[in-house]
């Protein structure tokens, strides 16, 4: 009985929320309602205002207009502490943990348990360990957090949020770094939280996820509220239409290219562990890719697929060894600049740490990798740089108020477009795409797929890594699967299925 009472009560209502940053309206009349025991998906393209709305709810942005009610009481948050005190917890996309501290210390960060000013270490360790076990994570909580893989760290972050006993939980793309098994664990936790009467606001760009866990869906577009509907009544086509404002007739528009010649062939390629461990992260891998072809490289975390591309690109210098031929000519990976000079480009899987210089503006990021072109005799040609950036802005449909904006003020999808523009400028013959659509909204994803089609029709060879299975299956012409640094299977795209790939990926 109690369970039923707890369900379907309004926990939160935000109405008429408006917010602008230095004259630019980011949210206008946005609204969101959350009931107890529901998973409420907040959907929208990058830059639609989801993050801003969440930050207002979390007490990060305190200047806005509109009203927020928690448990039917009007609230006004002046800080993140106010929001936390009202029972709101946000699990951010970027981890807010300290890698150099132990797991237990991280979980109790800011709320350390103490006895007469002495830290009650043993108690915290025991509690942290129990809490993690509850969500199915059995690890040594006294070890440094940085020792664990990113996915484990993400689970710790989730556990930290749960430790505060909140009733309104916001999860901003919580699965972006999790493996499939861990995603399942997370969903189990979410189910438990629902049972206990919590309301969950969930942000994700993954369609499968939305329809697996959503009770209701609200959509924002360009800072405006578009609508709310139960997940069962809002089919995928309709949802995309709400988000993008137009119909996307095909989710994955891959055009088959005509047969090309071998652009890159790799034989017995091995990459030693960059941190010095004795086992190579890539061992004796051989493959080739033709001009105009998209080769998908599947693999779970730790399979070495990303390291394979980085190794060929020269990221690890001479730690990567093997016989590589570029259009029949022998090539040895040395440095990234050497790879770029030989027509290889790598769109890295983390644009914030390895892709872009966030503090520099759009123009300077766009020209960075091909700066020699823009500085004959060492003298920069700013006019030519701006012209080029302007050209890419139009061609890639980059949404930015001005090209002199720093890239860290752009949304994820637009940042990715800047990174793509940078690599187009190097005029690659072989383009490695490592998670090109991670954290990118549906509309921009579609644009990136169309770009891939355009590049292959120009004879560029693409090697694609993506953790989104439908994308991999639809966009690749051929798929190789890696497991623990070795290739375990190869399929033509017609023969590949999700099951086959997963099986090969797990060894």
């Amino acid at each position: 009985m109690l369970q039923d009472d707890k369900k379907n009560i309004q926990l939160l209502s935000m109405t008429g929320i408006c917010k602008s940053f230095s004259g630019v309206q980011v949210l206008s009349d946005a609204q969101l309602e959350l009931r107890s025991g529901e998973v409420h998906i907040l959907a929208g393209e990058n830059g639609a205002g989801k993050s801003t709305l969440i930050k207002i709810l979390a007490g990060v942005h305190t200047e806005y207009t509109g009203t927020i009610h928690v448990d039917s009481k009007k609230v006004n948050f002046n800080s993140i502490h106010d929001a936390a005190a009202a029972g709101i917890s946000v699990i951010h996309q970027e981890l807010s943990l300290v890698p150099a501290m132990s797991v237990a210390e991280n979980i109790f960060l800011g709320r350390e348990k103490s006895r007469f000013a002495w830290l009650a270490k043993a108690e915290m360790i025991k509690k942290a360990s129990n809490m993690l076990k509850e969500i199915g994570l059995d690890i040594d909580v006294t070890r440094e957090l940085g020792d664990y893989p990113l996915s484990t760290q993400q689970m710790v972050e989730i556990c930290k949020a749960l430790a505060i006993n909140c009733r309104i939980i916001v999860m901003d793309e919580p699965t972006s770094a999790l493996t499939d098994v861990e995603v399942e664990k997370l969903f189990t936790i979410i189910a438990k939280l629902k049972q206990n009467g919590c309301g969950i606001i969930y942000i994700t760009h993954k369609m499968e996820e939305i329809y697996r866990i959503a009770d209701r869906i609200s959509v924002l577009r360009d800072g405006k509220y578009i609508g709310t509907a139960p997940a069962s009544e809002l089919n995928q086509a309709k949802l995309i239409q709400w988000m993008v404002g137009r119909e996307l007739n095909q989710q994955f528009p891959r055009h088959k290219p005509k047969d090309g010649s071998v652009a890159l062939s790799v034989k017995d390629f091995t990459v030693a562990d960059p941190s010095g461990k004795p086992f190579p992260v890539v061992s004796k891998v051989s493959f080739s890719v033709k001009t105009g072809e998209i080769l998908g490289v599947a693999g779970l975390q730790g399979s070495g697929n990303s390291e394979l591309l980085n190794g060929i690109f020269g990221t690890y210098g001479t730690k990567a060894k093997g016989k590589i031929e570029l259009e029949g000519k022998s090539y040895n990976p040395a440095t990234p600049s050497h790879a770029i000079a030989n027509g290889i480009s790598l769109l890295t899987n983390d644009r914030k740490t390895t892709g872009l210089v966030l503090g520099m503006n759009i123009v300077h990021n766009t020209t960075l990798a091909a700066l020699k072109k823009f500085s004959p005799g060492h003298w920069l040609k700013p006019a030519k740089e701006s012209q080029t950036a302007e050209h890419h802005k139009k061609a890639l449909n980059l949404k930015a108020a001005s090209l002199s904006m720093q890239v860290d003020s752009l949304s994820g999808g637009n940042q990715q477009k800047v990174a793509i523009a940078k690599w187009i400028e190097t005029e690659p013959k072989i383009f490695f795409l490592d998670e090109p659509t991670r954290g990118v909204d549906v509309g921009a994803k579609h644009e990136i797929y169309e770009l891939m089609n355009k590049w292959t029709s120009q004879g560029i060879a693409i090697v694609l890594i993506t953790s989104e299975m439908p994308e991999l299956l639809a966009m690749s012409d051929r798929i190789i699967v890696m497991h623990r640094g070795k290739i375990t299977a190869e399929y033509a795209s017609a023969d590949a299925t999700q099951e086959k790939i997963l099986q090969a990926a797990m060894g």
Binding site: S22, G23, V24, F313, T315, T335, P336, S337, A339, I340, A341, L346, T348, T353, T354, G355, L356, V357, L358, G359, M360, H364, L368, A369, L371, K372, S375, H378, W379, L380, K422, T426
Partner: protein
Amino acid sequence: MKNGLKHSWIASPVTRALGALIIIFVIGLIFNADSAFFKWGTHRDMLRAVSVYGMLACGMTMVIIAGGIDLSVGSILALTAVCFSLFTIHRGINVFIAIVLCLCIGTLCGVCSGAFIARFRIQPFIATLAMMVFARGVAKWVSGGQKISTAVQQADGSYKYVDVPEIFNIINSKILANNITVVTIIFLFCLLISWLLLVKLRYGRYIYAIGGNEEASRLSGVPVSRAKVLAYGLSGLFCAVAGICQAAQELQGDPEAGVAYELSAIAMVVIGGTSLQGGRGSIWLTLIGVLTIGYLEKILSINAVGEDKRLMLTGAIIIAAVLLQRTKK
């Protein structure tokens, strides 16, 4: 829209840095003992006094934008000052050759720091700390721990006073109807070179990119090592220029010169608003920082404020200036 523009104008780092300078300037006009602030000579002397520091700050700006720090500037200044005095006063080497030699010595010191930082991945703080100690040692070794002045010891142990080489007087002179000192002109020249490198040349862009995100820069094919060595090498070169000027101003090469100058240079860069995190800043901000400290010192000395209070005030001003520049988020 108008509101937005106004806002961005107020928030620009140049405006904020200028704000601190203007406040100092106004204070100078208020506490204007003997109307000294209305005489150009006061401003000329202030510029002369900060020029040597300013040269060090130019190099420091490049290094800091590249995400590093250079603690060795004061020691390299002492080393080159000693060498320059030794070459010109004692050995009578051709002035032109002496200058080139000193510039090479300074540059070499900087290049060494840069190479250790870039090739062997030693932290800039540590590598330049080592260079700071090492260069000071070389300065003492070369000079035998003595000030290299116009009193030249003869074979029989007696001292003979020689004339100051002409170049010392030239550097010390005032030109343009006594309105500006040659040292200040040299400082402005250093500023110009730094600006050309940072804004107009490809490697300047590389320096910003490395300071902003070194790994992303490397993966974009930026020659990270070369750009770092260049930044530290230029810092060393400017130290040598400053060392030569220092020797000329003091009419001697003092192996103990330039102690704690690196801290003044860092303070000037930071007061200007260049972030110690790297990737952001500009040489003009450093000029503003140099002038801010210069005017502060001048005002305090005009009003005969003792060194004790001067130091306390300077410390307070550094904090105030940095707080003033913080963008409210």
